[in-house]
């Protein structure tokens, strides 16, 4: 017979005010297997915990039931308590007498009856609680960072600084991400490239960082500490080792029709190209789709001109499989496509451009050499209208959230415009100004007062294409007047949205994403960089829109988490997971097919001497303990430790008999 101790907490008057605690104690004493029952004012307090510890020792208890607040509150507290008394921490059950009794029932007699029943329930369950042992797994002391923008770069550098090996995977030919496309950064107006490039170079030079550009994650198996990842290194058709980065190939390439992604489609690029001059690695790739050789079999100009003989048309995609202990997801964002806005011309008016396009024009290294030119006629615009919240805070477009950076980048661009062209006029249509960062509000004020940018609170209802200008009709809600502005160019502050492949990656990693497609953190307040999949962390805009300082801060936080994980000698895994009894398993694979985590393996096992059968086996470190396999097992060969059928049946019987 088990020796259970029952400890009922008054929780001040929270429980004792409604539940007749002494009656619960008396009734508990009569339950089979209960050796001692007592109550105390605050069981979770130090004296309360000591009472439990001392009673366990004095009475040689082997199981404990605590009648207190919700197990979600103090289960861990009391587990540690009984562990200190030398018991297995899993031989504890909590009867939820506060949230489920005293706080929701006012009638004292029936509340007490229910409390008695709940204690009986816990006693019945704890009788079948097996002592569970924590499971330990080895940790692969390497991290994978997916995404080579500023978030990924920062995370990779910080993890490496902690002394761990990092592999940084970037889909584009160069790392740098969105930040490399920007001209200046708000509110300090530092040159984006000037602060980013050193970091990019640092990545390339760091011996602990393996850089895989032009590569994508294809498959992820395994679990925290032991992820096995297949990475597809796309064929670059240029040898990484031979290429000297002279750029002759790009210069001579005859195919030049392709729009440059890096330049936000306002310019073209060659078929063999590096996205931008400061690219890391500075090695071009051949874009198979626009290359003449791959289309027609003729050309081979690049191969002919290459002084290093680095061009290799026979290169093929290469899948590399590596093991990692932790994964950082830093896949960044896409910009909202404004072609769904009829009032802004469905994206078909050439002189209505996006903020990023303006950013590329204004950049002195950009295709226009730092001059703002109207796409329609190449003229420098005089009056530029900026429209904020395009694809942000717009329920009608399915984008209810604020993209957080548009207010600031619009202000920055207006400032740059005014700086470049003192005669120009900048008019900003806004809904609200959100300038909640350090120095942000001051910046907005400066833009308005020092740079004379006109801010109109209101929406633009329509943009008309006139002969040589645009007619912007809108409303100034502060004055209540309809306004009509003759503008030379309109710049849309398009919002941020998750990468379109974000969902695929989420499914590969089994991480969640919200209704907007941003990855879900484990807890919005207390675990903002973790995901529900242990060992997978988030950094940057893939989690939610954020500016560069926040991104960098989050990346460093992520790196700290990764460091904390990788620095452990071995990994502790909750033991409340599934277990197969091979004797009972028929090998039908219901569990194998259903497991959401792929935690079941089919394995030939010698179940009795001389009898080998292919039966299910739980991969302890992969199993998360959801129990889908248990419900699906006809043979009842699989059970969930800590939630066994035996435990639940005891509880069912206790309730049903009342």
């Amino acid at each position: 017979m088990s020796k259970t101790g029952v400890f009922i907490c008054h929780c001040g008057s929270n429980i004792a005010g409604v539940v007749a605690v002494e009656k619960v104690v008396e009734s508990a004493k009569t339950l089979p297997g209960v050796k001692v029952a007592m109550d105390y004012k605050y069981m979770c307090s130090d004296p309360g915990q000591n009472l439990i510890i001392n009673t366990i020792k004095e009475q040689a208890l082997d199981r404990v039931v605590v009648g207190s607040c919700s197990p979600r509150m103090h289960e861990n507290t009391f587990r540690m308590t009984i562990e200190r008394a030398g018991l297995n921490p899993y031989r504890l059950e909590i009867a939820n007498l506060r949230e489920h009794v005293s706080w929701v029932h006012s009638e004292k007699a029936s509340a007490t009856d229910k409390a008695i029943k709940l204690v009986e329930l816990a006693v019945a369950k704890v009788r079948r609680n097996e002592p569970l042992q924590k499971i330990y797994a080895e940790i692969e002391k390497r991290a994978l960072v997916i995404g080579g923008g500023i978030a990924g770069i920062q995370a990779a550098l910080d993890i490496a600084a902690n002394g761990y090996k990092v592999t940084l995977v970037e889909r584009e030919p160069s790392i740098g991400g969105r930040m490399s496309q920007l001209d200046k950064t708000f509110p300090t107006m530092d040159c984006s490239a000037c602060i980013l490039t050193p970091k990019m170079v640092a990545v390339a030079q760091n011996k602990d960082i393996t850089l895989l550009t032009y590569a994508e994650v294809e498959q992820v198996h395994g679990y925290v500490g032991n992820f096995e990842v297949n990475i597809n290194k796309k064929a670059r058709f240029v040898s990484m080792t031979k290429c000297i980065g002279c750029g002759v190939c790009t210069e001579k390439c005859p195919s030049k029709k392709r729009l440059s992604e890096f330049n936000a489609n306002i310019a073209t690029r060659k078929a063999i190209y590096t996205p931008f001059p400061q690219a890391v690695p500075n090695i071009p790739v051949i874009d198979k789709d626009s290359c003449m050789y791959f289309a027609t079999g003729k050309c081979k100009v690049c191969e002919k001109v290459c002084p290093a003989g680095a061009v290799d048309y026979t290169q093929e995609d290469e899948i590399i499989t590596e093991k990692f202990g932790a994964i950082v997801v830093a896949t960044g964002y896409d910009l909202y496509d404004h072609s769904s806005y009829g009032e802004y011309g469905y994206g078909e008016i050439p002189d209505v451009i996006t903020g990023l396009q303006l950013e590329r024009m204004i950049n002195s290294g950009g295709p226009t050499g730092g001059h703002i030119k109207r796409p329609s006629d190449g003229k420098e615009p005089e009056t530029v209208v900026f429209i904020q919240c395009v694809g942000s805070r717009d329920d009608a477009k399915g984008k209810p959230y604020c993209s957080r950076v548009c207010c600031m980048y619009t202000a920055k661009q207006a400032l740059l415009l005014r700086e470049h062209y003192p005669n120009s006029k900048a008019i900003v249509f806004y809904m609200d100004i959100r300038a909640a960062g350090k120095g942000y509000e001051e910046f907005i004020q400066r833009v308005q007062t020092e740079y004379g940018v006109l801010y109109l609170r209101g929406r633009v209802s329509r943009i008309y294409e006139k002969k040589d200008h645009l007619l912007v009709k809108g409303v100034d809600t502060l004055s209540g007047n309809q306004v009509e502005i003759k503008a030379d160019m309109v710049v849309l502050a398009t919002g941020l949205k998750p990468k379109k492949e974000a969902q695929n990656l989420a499914q590969l990693l089994h991480i969640g994403y919200d209704q907007n497609g941003f990855y879900t953190e484990l807890h919005p307040k207390l675990a903002p960089v973790e995901t529900q999949i242990a060992g997978v962390y988030l950094a940057g805009c893939c989690q939610s829109p954020k500016d560069i300082p926040d991104t960098v801060a989050q990346s460093s936080a992520t790196a700290a988490k990764v460091g904390a994980l990788l620095s452990k000698e071995r990994l502790e895994i909750e033991p409340m997971i599934s277990e197969v009894n091979p004797l009972l398993c028929s090998g039908c694979r219901m569990c194998y097919n259903a497991c959401p985590y792929g935690a079941i393996e089919m394995e030939d096992t010698e179940i009795r001497r001389g009898e080998i059968r292919c039966v299910a086996k739980v991969l302890v470190s992969v199993c998360k303990g959801c129990g889908v396999c248990v419900a699906g097992c006809y043979c009842k060969a699989i059970d969930l430790k800590g939630w066994t059928d035996r435990q639940l049946m005891e509880q069912i019987k206790v309730i049903s008999y009342c």
């Binding site: 028929s586 090998g587 219901m590 097919n593 259903a594 006809y634």
Partner: protein, 270 residues
Amino acid sequence: MSKTLQETARNLLAENKVEVIIGYAQGYDAFHTRPVFISNVEDVSKLIINEYCTNNLSVYLPIHKKLKVGIVTAKEQDLASIHELINEHQILEENVIIIEAAKQISSLSSELGEAQRDRGIDEEDGRQEAWKKRGYDMAVEEFEKLSAKERETFWDKEFERCIRCYACRQVCPVCYCPDCFVNRTMPKYLNEAVDMNKNKLFSLVRMLHVFGRCMDCRACNNACPVGIPLRLLTKKIAKDALELFGYVSGQGQEHPFSTFEKDELLEEIR
């Protein structure tokens, strides 16, 4: 017909393609057959095939999964059972040679009512009326129209006489678990004491376990010594599988319980 079958069996055995043939032989009278295991060429003359071959022989395959077996199938459902067992990794496809007799049988048996054939016609004594009156040949749809109380009364009466001999389970090709849940003692799902509620629980759980795997071969229905209309239940689960998940067992679809769609059954639970 039996002659052709015997010839096929003889060849398979003689050419060592199989170690044993599982087929049908004459039962205790002309209206009954019994499963038979033939491993000697001399014995193939025992094999017969006729409209009374109602057993689903695939139930023997998991038991003899290591042998090379030639198996006679008398019904489409028997054939489907074999495929299901292969899908569920209980038998190896290469170990089974199917001797299909289903088509010939179906042409013969149309003359007889299904129920009559299953039970043997020697008991034909005017009780078909009672059969009808009690709803034994009732379609699932009709039965569903009864009130909850009527349905409960019906099944209470039926399961009251169940003797828990587990013949229904033992003859079922997909009830191949090494140890049925009813045998489990920790916890004990079913007590040894036999009463209506427990009998019902057993059959209900068995139905859930064979959901999506039952080929509606009628083996359990025919095996019951006290005539519990288990067919009504197997038809019901087949109907639900089709209506809810567009699933037909034995077609190699993924089992409804090991997969899901995110945007299905939206009205089921709110």
